[in-house]
């Protein structure tokens, strides 16, 4: 095997992270300005953007766990990108701090006077109260940071030692890791998003966010891999066959997302119970209805038809465009889920949303590329690397 360049150097390793951090800090300055103007609006916009990047991080964590769990060989070339993305869980924990301060603005159930006169909120008080909320958040981030640190460390250690024992250990950890992941992502979504409308409940929401997070993570991994390839990296480990494989997985998870989204909507529509249907009535109000239809067509119907064919998945420029589109649709999805709680009558993109996006996005990408340049771009000593290189789709 001819190894060209396994380390990220040049623009993406040095200048780009600086630009990204610069944009992040600029965004933070704008956010501070918007916070003074309207803290209420600020917190909702911030939570929306936070959820976009959190789902991306958790989806990448899932990708790493599931690849170890099923002992997959095809994905080795993508693995370091996913591992670096999931390592941003520490950054996400830091970025969660503003949300702690925003609890009174975001969450209706935190208001003691409201809880006292509302029997439903009163009955949920044992779970939905500020101290327990904080403890739970600590617990979720504890799980995510521990899992991502352990897997990142074991994998990068193997780069120099070449010890196949590391792979065996990671496979072992991935078993209970995936259980912890499933429980933590479900409860995190219940806490941070579902409790925005504390009367509402849905048994689907955990799976809904999980499906969306895997779609956005696979898209981002594939997208970054193509960017790196265009700069001449990863060419020896990633071919059109690997992009075809990740395309299939992406396509499948997108259909799964649609299935879950419809199941959630369908059961609530069908039963028509006041506490449940209130969520959809709010989210279909005014121009939010347009956003919902756009989500159905843009997230599901369009890609379902356009990305179905094998030729579409193997056409790399088209594949790249689709991954960018999926990332955009995840943003729309999170926006549609969170923002109707603030902009009740219809959607409205203001400066604060864009400032939050550039703040969190800048810091996220800056951290990502800095960390990516510190290690090889793929696990060079992985025992399955040769299996991965010879991948071929039947």
């Amino acid at each position: 095997m001819k190894v060209t360049n396994t380390r990220l150097t040049g623009f993406l390793a040095t200048t780009f992270p600086k630009i990204a951090f610069g944009i992040g800090i600029l965004g933070a300055a704008f956010l501070a300005f918007f916070f003074k103007q309207d803290p209420h609006h600020f917190y909702f916009a911030y939570l929306t953007v936070f959820m976009i990047f959190l789902t991306l991080t958790l989806g990448s964590l899932f990708f790493v766990l599931i690849q170890h769990l099923v002992r997959a060989g095809w994905s080795i070339g993508f693995k370091r990108i996913a591992e670096t993305l999931m390592s941003n869980s520490g950054l996400m924990a830091l970025l969660f701090i503003p949300i702690i301060f925003g609890i009174p603005h975001l969450y209706h159930w935190s208001n003691a006077a409201e809880v006292a006169k509302d029997p439903l909120l009163n009955s949920k008080h044992a779970f939905l109260n500020i101290p327990f909320f904080k403890v739970r958040a600590l617990f979720y981030f504890g799980i995510w940071i521990t899992l991502s640190r352990v897997f990142y460390k074991k994998s990068t250690e193997q780069d120099s030692s070449g010890d196949p024992e590391n792979t065996v250990k990671m496979q072992k950890y991935s078993t209970f890791g995936i259980l912890l992941f499933a429980l933590s992502i479900t409860f995190a979504c219940i806490d941070w998003v579902m409790s925005l409308t504390p009367h509402w409940y849905s048994t689907m929401i955990g799976v809904y966010f999980f499906a969306g997070s895997v779609v956005v993570a696979l898209s981002t991994i594939s997208c970054i891999a193509q960017i790196l390839r265009s700069q001449g990296y990863l060419k020896e480990v990633l071919t059109v066959e690997h992009f075809h494989e990740i395309g299939k997985l992406l396509y499948g998870f997108n259909v799964f997302w649609a299935y879950i989204a419809f199941s959630q909507y369908f059961l609530i529509w069908y039963a028509n119970i006041p506490e449940e249907i209130a969520f959809y009535l709010e989210h279909f109000k005014g121009t939010w209805n347009t956003v919902a239809i756009f989500l159905v067509l843009g997230h599901f119907v369009g890609p379902f038809i356009l990305f179905m064919s094998r030729h579409a998945k193997r056409n790399l420029p088209f594949h790249f465009a689709i991954t960018l589109w999926f990332i955009f649709m995840q943003m729309v999805d999170m926006y549609w889920f969170v923002m109707p709680n603030f902009n009740i009558n219809g959607f409205h993109i203001g400066g604060v949303e864009l400032a939050a996006l550039s703040c969190i996005g800048g810091l996220y990408l800056g951290t990502f590329f800095t960390r990516l340049s510190k290690q090889a771009l793929y696990p060079i000593q992985d025992p399955r690397i040769s299996e991965s290189i010879h991948l071929e789709n039947l």
Binding site: W269, Y270, R310, E392
Partner: protein, 181 residues
């Protein structure tokens, strides 16, 4: 060309040692311009489609049409039933409640696609059939465990019995036999 007009010859068939050898042989025949030749292996050999110069199957397009038919059928049937044939008010919802139609449309789409895929595959493969000429080859029973076979069929425009035998011999094949219908 008297040999081409012999109706009872199915083709020339030979055995190869392993997947690599048979792949090389297939590439050779593809490059020599042969179209109608078949390869029999105990397991799928990656890259064989390319080595044989096979085009992607048209079945996918039939399945797409089948799925679209199922979708349209499900939607039409339910619309007709719910809005004109048997108007029933169900939990106060409009007659045309497309939300409720989705699962049935989905299921019919899957059903029609699956039927098209299975039956289309059988028709395109010419199955079921009682008998195939290749079973006349003396060692063909190995094809399900460890034998790799290549058969140049007589219907190929370039088919020439002696030339095929020579070609196969040149490629290191063993058990070269002329199989008859």
């Amino acid at each position: 060309m008297s040999k081409n007009t012999q109706h009872n010859v199915h083709g020339v068939m030979a055995e190869f040692k392993g997947p690599r050898e048979i792949m090389q042989a297939a590439e050779h025949f593809r490059d020599a311009g042969y179209k109608d030749f078949e390869v029999y292996t105990p397991f799928p050999v990656h890259g064989m489609d390319r080595a044989m110069g096979l085009k992607p199957s048209k079945l996918a397009w039939f399945v797409l049409c089948g799925g679209a038919t199922g979708l349209a059928f499900g939607l039409t049937l339910q619309t007709w039933v719910a809005t004109s044939a048997y108007k029933l008010t169900i939990s106060g919802k409009p007659f045309f409640s497309y939300q409720a139609f989705v699962p049935v449309c989905f299921e019919l789409m899957v059903l029609f696609s699956a039927f098209t895929a299975v039956f289309g595959m059988l028709i395109m493969n010419g199955l079921p059939r009682w008998y195939h000429s290749v079973f006349k080859h003396s060692t063909f029973h190995k094809a399900s465990s460890h034998g790799f076979f290549l058969c140049i069929e007589a219907r190929d425009k370039k088919f020439d019995q002696q030339a095929s035998i020579d070609l196969l011999q040149g490629l290191g094949a063993t058990n070269i036999e002329v199989v008859e219908d």
